[in-house]
Amino acid sequence: MKAPDILYECPQTVAEAVALLSDDGRFCQPLAGGQSLMPMMHLRLAQPEVLIDLNALAELDFIEQVDDTIHVGSMVRYTTLLNSELIRRHVPLMSLSLPHVAHSAVRNRGTIGGSTALADPAAEMPAVLKALNAVIVAVSQSGPREISADDFFQGIYETALGDDELVHSIKFPAATDQQRFGFYELARRHGDYAMAGVAVSAQSINPYTGLRIIFFGVADQPLRATGAEAALEGSMFKDEPAILEAQNALPADEFTGDVGVSVDTKVQLAKVVLKRALLAM
């Protein structure tokens, strides 16, 4: 398990990086924290001809507040997010989810942009982005463009990102006083990818309004459960019949199994994580 020889570039600016990326002749791949890409290269599942290392791009390493938006650069590491007061205060759902992402060694390297671009259907970040209605800022030589999380994630390792685009940053709406968030996941071992998990945001919870319920680890992408949202809309916090109705309104036909885990089990686990996330909001 050794990667083949590849070319390595280490651009110093985003402009240089996207210029390199626009090379049509060669297959280029950006390298962020390397926590997914390096193993895939060694397994020869990923075989870039040119590796474009983003680690020198200080431009992409920022967390800032602009009015009602929290703007996070793609090269921000999980550990930095975990320790960020801005994130804790204004993007609490992210703070709830981060302890479930791998272990600290991985979190010290892994980046939010890497996880977003990778679009692993069992990963936490894509679900959080989608639950929060975040906006992904992509950049290429032709400039930036904004893509809503709903449109961004399209399938297993599939996104709306073009081959010549980088994830530049992600914009989160800052949480309001009325908003509440819930997060719950089931992983076989501490730090594993989820067998089933859910990220929930609500404009209010008593009564429930404006819910976004996003499951991860159960389908080919972060899966929004609009039926469950509708079942809860307007009912009061912890209302048992409403929660039961929501549990029974999951988009089960879109669920997929894993090795040794059937769709039935996934559905059962999804019901459980939904209930537990709702009760803890």
């Binding site: 398990m1 050794k2 397994l43 076989r188 090795v259 040794g260 059937s262």
Partner: protein, 792 residues
């Protein structure tokens, strides 16, 4: 000498104390030398093209493009490698009827499991070798794959080996007493269950690793390997590569875990030796994780129908098992793949007083990776089957699980005795161990808490196991059947001019602290500070001949050989000292590096002074004194086929009945491994073993699809328990020294792995019982637990 030496119990002795490991800081600081750390001049790197199919004819192999790649040194087809090797057969004469076709390192015309090597590439780096592997074209004709043991057994027409009349490798029957009569008595409650045990594997941190050097001028081969049995490897390479045995040197330096994985004949390692010989250059082969999962031996894979009968008093009247196990396409050489089944037949029910016992074992070939001996061979299966049946039966007659054990465990004063399956037991303490366990875990309180918590919807379970562990094997294990596997071990102890002790011993260190306990034994028996003892293991050029490390034999057999050699050297040194001091040896003793008067402890001569006289100023020795400051002794167990360790263990688990997740909350172990040489090391062996047992019970499984494709060959998909999944493991000891040796040490390396799965299985079923659900399949994954709950 026989019987325990009571001087071991003295307060300032080394034996029995948690002496720090002298090599720990070296390893922790990254100064260890593993095989991959070796960098030799002109060294090359190997990678293999492996069969993508579980069963396929190999129609053609084209290596032209691979050969042409820059940086490639050589590409060997299976035919080219196999031509240099005489076939090996994984059978032993004492496993009567076991059959397995001759085997060669690589697949030439037909591939019998996914992962079997087909082409070997040797290049200037492993990366280039892998590039070249991608250029090799193999044309396959896929054949039907026999994946499950049941499928292989039932399907005699689709034979894995056309030259055999069926896919069956071995059948063994045991029949003691009158089982049928016992089951049919009117007052007998009969419980029947079917158990399934998934395949798992050892997952060593350091993978299988080999560097082979060939020196043409003197026709010698140096085989550096990460392994446990240097002399066995030496014999195997000599036999099958046609070398004089003495021309092969096997070196096992630091070994990053072995667990029984690194004690077999692997085609890729043999091919590495062949390549080194053909190329006259050192060749390195380091298995990567993908290769580890698909080609390191797997273990378990048993389906067992079990049946127990108990009378109204809870006495076991009969036990019956029928084991079906699949071993892959061959029986592994030289230990064979029938041993696990054999152990299960030998050990099921072994802790209990059972007169009527019937067992059948059926071992079949399959198109999967080979199965062989992995830590606690057969034990987790045997213990889980019997102790689960026992707890199920206890619940049928409404008897407490501790009480039913008390009524059936062999009583502590009954030894020596022989079990229904013919196992000879001595010096065991089942009853006492159980009693200690119950006290340590506060059993009665736990039961009360359990009832309270159930009212709150929390499902906790408590499960126990009483177990034996096969340790310190005699030649009756392998040697008797014709394997080049030594059951004896030797030690040489030498005093040098500076008064330091050099110990070399034929057992090996694979991270468990072997070298430390050897130093403890030598320091104590001879009488020097442990800092002055240097231990060498793992090099056939430098250690006495012996078996190595397997079957929990290091301390009990290797340790005893060091004890005997140290004792002999001490006599020799005292004789020299007596002649220098003009007295008789019996008036002298050695204490902390000084020869002292045994009467009053006064210092007579230091060992360094004695060493200097002997080695530098021999002229000062009285005429006729022949000073030999070196002694060698060998030891094997001869009175018994094995020396058994016993233990009692318990687990407390919590089952989340909505998700099927199981959390092990606590684990308790009482073990009787005889003399405990180093409590800390023994405890860590037990803890590590328990964690591996938790792995087998809850997490670890080598998964194949119906076509024999391996599904979870990464550490992300094959789950081993990590720190977050480990409960507190509480340990106590009962010490009943074995009377077979002076040291009195039995083995302690495998009990945790052997017992933990049974305790956890019982605990889970105890938790599920109020829901009328049960599970008898390992690993107990959330999906399987949910299925059990859905059925109920």
């Amino acid at each position: 000498m026989s019987g325990p030496l009571h001087k071991f119990d003295q307060p300032n002795s080394y034996i029995g104390r948690s002496v720090e490991r002298p090599d720990a800081s070296r390893l922790v600081e990254g100064e260890g030398c593993y095989v991959d750390d070796l960098q030799l001049p002109r060294m090359t790197h190997a990678a293999f093209v492996r069969s993508q199919y579980a069963h396929a004819n190999i129609k053609s192999v084209n290596v032209d493009a691979a050969r042409a790649l820059a940086g490639v040194v050589a590409v060997f087809t299976a035919g080219e490698i196999n031509a240099e090797v005489s076939p090996y057969v994984g059978t032993l004469t004492h496993l009567q009827g076991l059959r397995s076709p001759p085997q060669l390192p690589m697949a030439d015309r037909v591939a019998l499991w996914q992962g079997e090597p087909i082409v070997m590439v040797v290049a200037q780096s492993r990366a280039v070798a892998e590039d070249a592997c991608e250029q090799v074209r193999v044309e396959y004709e896929p054949l039907d794959a026999m994946v499950s043991a049941r499928q292989a057994l039932d399907n005699d027409k689709a034979r894995i080996h056309p030259e055999l009349d069926s896919n069956t490798a071995w059948v063994k029957d045991v029949d003691a007493g009158d089982v049928s009569a016992a089951f049919s008595k009117s007052d007998v409650t009969v419980v029947e269950r079917t158990f399934q045990f998934g395949r798992h594997t050892g997952v060593t941190v350091e993978p299988r690793s080999t560097v082979v050097e060939f020196n043409r001028s003197d026709n010698t081969l140096v085989f550096h390997y990460s392994g446990q049995a240097p002399h066995m490897m030496q014999a195997i390479i000599a036999r099958h590569l046609d070398f004089p045995e003495e021309n092969i040197r096997v070196i096992a330096r630091d070994v990053g875990g072995s667990f029984g994985i690194k004690i077999h004949t692997y085609g890729d390692e043999i091919a590495t030796a062949v390549a080194a010989k053909l190329l006259r250059r050192p060749v390195k082969f380091i298995a990567d994780r993908l290769e580890s999962f698909t080609t390191d031996i797997h273990a378990r894979d048993h389906r067992i129908d079990g049946k127990i009968g108990i009378d109204r008093e809870g006495k076991i009247v009969a036990l019956e098992i029928d084991d079906l196990t699949g071993i892959g396409p061959y029986s592994m050489y030289p230990r064979t793949s029938a041993i696990e089944c054999n152990q299960i037949l030998n050990l099921t029910g072994a802790p209990y007083d059972i007169e009527n016992y019937r067992a059948r074992g059926t071992v079949v070939f399959q198109n999967k990776n080979m199965m062989c001996q992995y830590r606690a061979v057969g034990h987790p299966v045997a213990m889980a089957v019997c102790d689960s049946l026992l707890e199920e039966a206890a619940s049928e007659i409404d008897m407490d699980v501790v009480e039913i054990r008390r009524r059936n465990l062999i009583s502590d004063d009954a030894y020596p005795c022989t079990s229904a399956s013919g196992m000879k037991f001595a010096d065991l303490s089942h009853q006492k161990s159980l009693q200690r366990l119950v006290e340590m875990m506060r059993y009665d309180q736990l039961r009360k808490d359990q009832v309270e918590l159930r009212k709150a919807g929390i499902y906790r379970g408590i499960g126990l196991v009483s177990m034996v562990e096969v340790t310190n094997p005699s030649p009756m294990f392998y040697g008797v059947g014709g394997a080049p596997i030594s059951a004896q071990d030797g030690a040489t102890v030498r005093l040098d001019a500076a008064g330091a002790l050099h110990v070399s011993c034929s057992i090996t260190e694979s991270g468990q602290g072997t070298n430390t306990i050897l130093a403890q034994i030598a320091a104590e028996v001879f009488g020097v500070d442990i800092k002055r003892v240097k231990v060498t293991t793992g090099d056939t050029a430098h250690v006495p001949y012996g078996g190595g490390t397997w079957a929990s034999r290091g301390a009990g057999i290797g340790g005893e050989s060091v004890l005997l050699a140290s004792d002999a050297l001490k006599s020799q040194v005292l004789e020299v000292a007596a002649s220098i001091l003009q007295t008789t040896p019996d008036t002298l003793q050695i204490e902390r590096g000084v020869v002292v008067s045994s009467a009053d402890g006064s210092e007579k001569i230091s060992l360094d002074e004695l060493g200097r006289i002997v080695y530098y100023r021999g002229n000062e020795l009285p005429a006729g004194v022949n000073a030999e400051l070196i002694a060698t002794r060998h030891y094997k167990v001869s009175d018994f086929p094995f020396v058994f360790t016993n233990g009692a263990m318990a687990a407390q688990v919590e089952v989340d009945i909505e998700t099927g997740f199981i959390k092990v909350l606590d684990f308790w172990v009482v073990e009787d491994c005889g003399r405990v040489i180093n409590p800390k090391l023994v405890d860590e062996q037990i803890r590590g073993g328990v964690v591996q047992g938790i792995g087998g019970a809850l997490y670890e499984e080598c998964l194949y699809d119906d076509d024999g494709q391996y599904l979870n060959a990464t550490m992300a998909d094959y789950l081993v328990p990590m720190a977050g999944e480990m409960p507190d493991i509480h340990i106590e000891h009962v010490e009943t020294p074995t009377s077979t040796s002076t040291l009195g040490a039995k083995g302690a390396g495998e009990a945790g792995t052997g017992g933990a799965p049974a305790a956890i299985l019982n605990a889970v079923n105890d938790a599920l019982r109020p829901l009328e659900a049960s599970i008898f399949q390992m690993p107990m994954t959330p999906e399987r637990v949910l299925n059990a709950l859905r059925v109920s």
